[in-house]
Symmetry: C2
Subunit: 230 residues, 2 copies
């Protein structure tokens, strides 16, 4: 087997791996979408199926990570260290997005027997931004496009600002009507889960930047979640 | 350089790496301890220093991860795939423990100008269990001791049960006095952060099991956090 053949098969392997990771990401997005539908429509069956499917993402992450290390062990190339680390971190970030989606589904089950809380309205737009960030960042990973990745990273401030507004709105509801406290707390955690999903999309974006440019993005990311910082 | 020499230097490298990761873990524990002190004593200076030091753990995680992949690229051995994956995941789990500790510190700053909330009492014991789990699991990693790791994993149920009790107590406080809502929510997130730290200690324990036995622990872990599931 010539050197060229080895390099060729290595590139194919990397392309296959990228496809696997992107596929994982698509499943995570699907999970989040369905969890949000379950939450808005109080659909317990749909929520349960999201929860049950989370183990599939966990299993995929295990398989992908082992593939990545196999690739590392077999075909060292100049850019490998970055590709390997980025692939492991991106797979891990997607696995955590899946966890957050499953948690949203769990909370929709917990809310199941209470009337649909009016405070849930703001969650839809929040989830939409997170889903768009995920879709864009997966495309950026497929294309190894650092500029698209940087744009995703910039959008996280928008998500954080919306989260902060929603957080304050939920606090107001709770203060006005103590009977709303329990359901509002669940919605607060749902909002927090979505905000964390945005952080993971940002983390994926930073890993794409690292693959392409070999360093972390220079400019510090603006953190606009002000609910915990002051 | 003979084969034996390469293997020897590879073992040394792995031992050095283990030390680095354990050191990272010790810093994360220190951060959590100081964040809890800052929270209980309303000590803003101490909180700020925890927050500032979080970048050190992030930087360590980057260095360690690159070292791990360098090791993977240079010295393939039979057990490597598991050691490499476990080292990367353990380093990443520790980095997240550091994030949670920093978030506890941030919330203590946010609470800074309100009177010390009486609901904070239960948090000390909760953090103590999390810290003990972290200490034990780092020792288990140092010794590659799967049995100690399994014991840590079993303790997570204890932490979850305590978290659930605390969660309900905080809900009661909020319902009784709406002026407590804002501070209680911060404490709720602090409790959640500590519960998540327990999950990461468990995750580290599972990776130690995987290194030693080559598979995930058989028995499903009992999840006793009932605040989101029903």
């Amino acid at each position: 087997m010539g050197q060229e053949h080895i390099l060729k098969s290595h590139d194919n392997e990397l392309a296959r791996l990228t496809d696997e990771i992107v596929r994982m990401g698509e499943i995570a997005i699907e999970q989040l979408r369905e969890a949000m539908v379950a939450l808005q429509r109080r659909d317990a069956t749909s929520a349960e199926s999201v929860i049950a499917r989370d183990v599939d993402i966990d299993e995929l992450e295990r398989v992908v990570s082992e593939d990545v290390v196999q690739l590392a062990l077999h075909g060292p190339m100049a850019r490998d260290l970055r590709e390997i680390l980025a692939a492991l971190r991106i797979a891990s970030a997607i696995e955590r997005v899946g966890d957050y989606a499953a948690n949203v589904a769990k909370r929709s089950v917990a809310l199941g027997f209470t009337p649909p809380p009016p405070q849930a309205r703001g969650l839809g737009p929040l989830a939409e931004i997170a889903i768009e960030m995920l879709e864009q960042v997966l495309q950026a990973y497929r294309d190894r496009d650092a500029d698209v990745a940087a744009a995703v990273r910039a959008r996280d401030a928008e998500l954080d600002a919306l989260y902060t507004a929603l957080f304050r709105e939920l606090l107001t509801y709770m203060a006005e009507d103590p009977r709303m406290i329990s359901s509002s707390i669940h919605l607060l955690f749902v909002a927090k889960n979505i905000e964390r999903i945005g952080d993971h999309a940002t983390n994926i974006a930073e890993n794409i930047w690292y693959v392409v440019h070999g360093e972390a993005p220079r400019q510090e990311r603006t953190k606009l979640d002000r609910t915990s910082g002051g």
